[in-house]
């Protein structure tokens, strides 16, 4: 149980930014193995642009997600702009009217993010993309919300589900994105997007826990 104030959400966003910045090189390495090595750079660019523009402004959680999503979407091309842009703006859409955000509310926001993502990508669980991280995280959080679980417990479960989802991509063969060209050769390493998605969800969870 518990909630946090939507209006207090700025530190959560900044924590997400820091998560990406700290892992820029690592994400590049992961992408380098079966992709083109630019995932850390792409993500860092968008998230840092957001930080530059908003670190001195006041904003809430949904609002911050919307601004970050918009920046990705309109200033970061490649796949990351539309992918994370859609996820983050989808979350913001679902959350903009909340004053307080509980477990079920957060689950609803994430669920809408996933839905918006699936509007533009065909990838399903098992295709070695960030869907493998995001989808189980949504499921676990939804279940926790329905079961009325404690917020911290729910967030820890979501983090675990995201990490497990990320790790599951290791044994998969990529079906979408650059690495899909490799077929069987893509097996054996993590998916870069699944990795960054886990970093973002973990940072978000940690940030929310500090507000509770």
């Amino acid at each position: 149980m518990g909630t946090f104030k939507n209006a207090d959400g700025k530190p959560v966003l900044l924590k997400m930014v820091k998560g990406i910045q700290d892992n820029k090189a690592y994400l590049g390495e992961v992408d380098g193995l079966i992709g083109d090595g630019d995932h850390g750079m792409n993500m860092n660019k968008g998230f840092s642009l957001f930080e530059d523009r908003f670190k001195d402004k006041e904003f809430g959680f949904a609002e911050g997600l919307n601004e970050l999503g918009t920046i990705l979407f309109s200033e970061i091309g490649g796949s990351m702009g539309p992918i994370y842009g859609n996820i983050l703006m989808g979350m913001a859409d679902a959350g903009e009217d909340f004053d307080e955000i509980g477990v079920a509310d957060l689950a609803a926001m994430l669920e809408n993010g996933l839905k918006e993502l699936q509007d533009i990508v065909e990838a399903q669980v098992g295709d070695k993309t960030l869907v493998d991280t995001l989808s189980p995280a949504v499921d676990v959080l939804k279940a926790a919300g329905e079961a009325g679980k404690d917020y911290k417990e729910a967030l820890e479960e979501m983090k675990a589900a995201a990490a497990q989802g990320r790790d599951s991509t290791k044994d998969m063969v990529a079906k979408f994105g650059r690495s899909s060209r490799l077929g069987e050769r893509s097996r054996g390493v993590l998916d870069a997007g699944a990795t960054s998605c886990c970093i973002i969800l973990t940072a978000m969870a940690d940030g929310i826990m500090e507000l509770l």
Partner: protein, 331 residues
């Protein structure tokens, strides 16, 4: 990395500044710094746009011009432009007759174009698309929808641009461009890797003395890595991939486009073309027109691509129409 640049993070913006100044007779800037438009677009025509990552010069901005693309969205190096840029390109090119967005089959471009089309619709601009998938090596024929777009895109722009210039309506422009790409097959051979300026080292390897058949424009792995061969054998290998796939047959009239990947000396492209031409002639395939040069590159990769397009009367007329852009000038 022996490169001419300042901060690699702004190389695309700096490149665009130089490009716009050097070609101020053909192109001009727009409000979106990542959208370039053609100068003096004739009134009342269907808009033709494209977009793609940078590092493929002349593609993509190099095909913005007369009887070609009216506006082009520009991405980071080897990375799709934003949905916003595709949207703004469409808005700039729209004259109420709709816009044909002719782009290449890459997941980022697909996503961004898909969103741009949706947003354009909301803004009252009709955008229809053709997605180029001429690269035979990137997927089997029964999964043509998965194939990448490569140098065949140049012919798609040539045809689509000419059709719009001749007054075709949106559906006619889309149909002509779609026919162009449906009639087109390509394959590339990579001899050296390329290095993204911001990364600083090649992110794939082609060992000296080997070559990668079917490589993509971003170093996407091809069909086969084999020993470096003579131009004669390379030509045969390329023709053997491209010709049976369509298939091009005796009596067909075709356009042949041989493009360098960036760092291969142009004289070698002519050596390769000579071998290709001999093989096509042997098969009774008639070359109506040949383009040989650096039409679609990958930074400083060495290697070349072969593209063949089968002509009919409409395509021939559209291919033969004059054009004026940085990358393609035709009298």
């Amino acid at each position: 990395m022996q490169r001419i640049m300042n901060d690699p993070d702004i190389i695309v913006d700096e490149m665009l500044k130089g490009f716009l100044k050097a070609h101020s007779d053909i192109v001009e800037a727009t409000e979106n710094p990542r959208v370039v438009k053609a100068k003096d677009i004739p009134e009342g025509k269907v808009g033709v746009i494209t977009g793609g990552g940078s590092g493929h010069k002349p593609a993509f901005v190099g095909y913005c011009g007369k009887n070609l693309c009216d506006a082009v969205a520009v991405g980071e190096i080897c990375s799709s432009p934003t949905a916003q840029a595709f949207l703004d390109a469409a808005k700039v090119a729209d004259q109420g007759k709709g816009v044909a967005c002719l782009y290449g089959n890459y997941s980022g471009d697909n996503m961004n174009v898909k969103m741009a089309v949706k947003m354009a619709k909301k803004a009252g601009v009709t955008v229809k698309t053709v997605v180029a998938n001429d690269d035979v090596a990137s997927a089997p024929k029964d999964q043509r929808e998965k194939r990448r777009g490569v140098a065949g895109e140049v012919l798609m722009w040539k045809v689509g641009g000419a059709k719009a210039a001749k007054g075709g309506d949106l559906d006619e422009v889309i149909a002509a461009a779609q026919k162009a790409i449906d009639n087109t097959r390509s394959v590339g051979i990579g001899l050296t890797p390329c290095t993204l300026p911001a990364v600083g080292h090649p992110n794939f390897e082609i060992k000296d003395g080997t070559m990668e058949v079917g490589i993509g424009h971003h170093g996407e792995p091809g069909i086969e890595v084999c020993e470096l061969e003579s131009a004669e054998k390379m030509a045969k290998r390329m023709v053997d991939v491209v010709v049976p796939d369509y298939p091009f047959e005796s009596g067909d009239e075709v356009v042949v486009l041989v493009s360098g990947l960036g760092a291969t000396p142009v004289m070698e492209l002519y050596v390769l073309y000579d071998e290709i031409d001999k093989l096509l002639a042997e098969k009774g395939i008639k070359t109506h027109k040949a383009y040989v040069g650096n039409y679609f590159t990958s930074l400083e990769m060495m290697g070349a691509t072969l593209t063949i397009m089968k002509l009919d009367d409409e395509l021939k007329e559209l291919i033969d129409m004059p054009a004026n852009s940085m990358g393609l000038k035709q009298f």
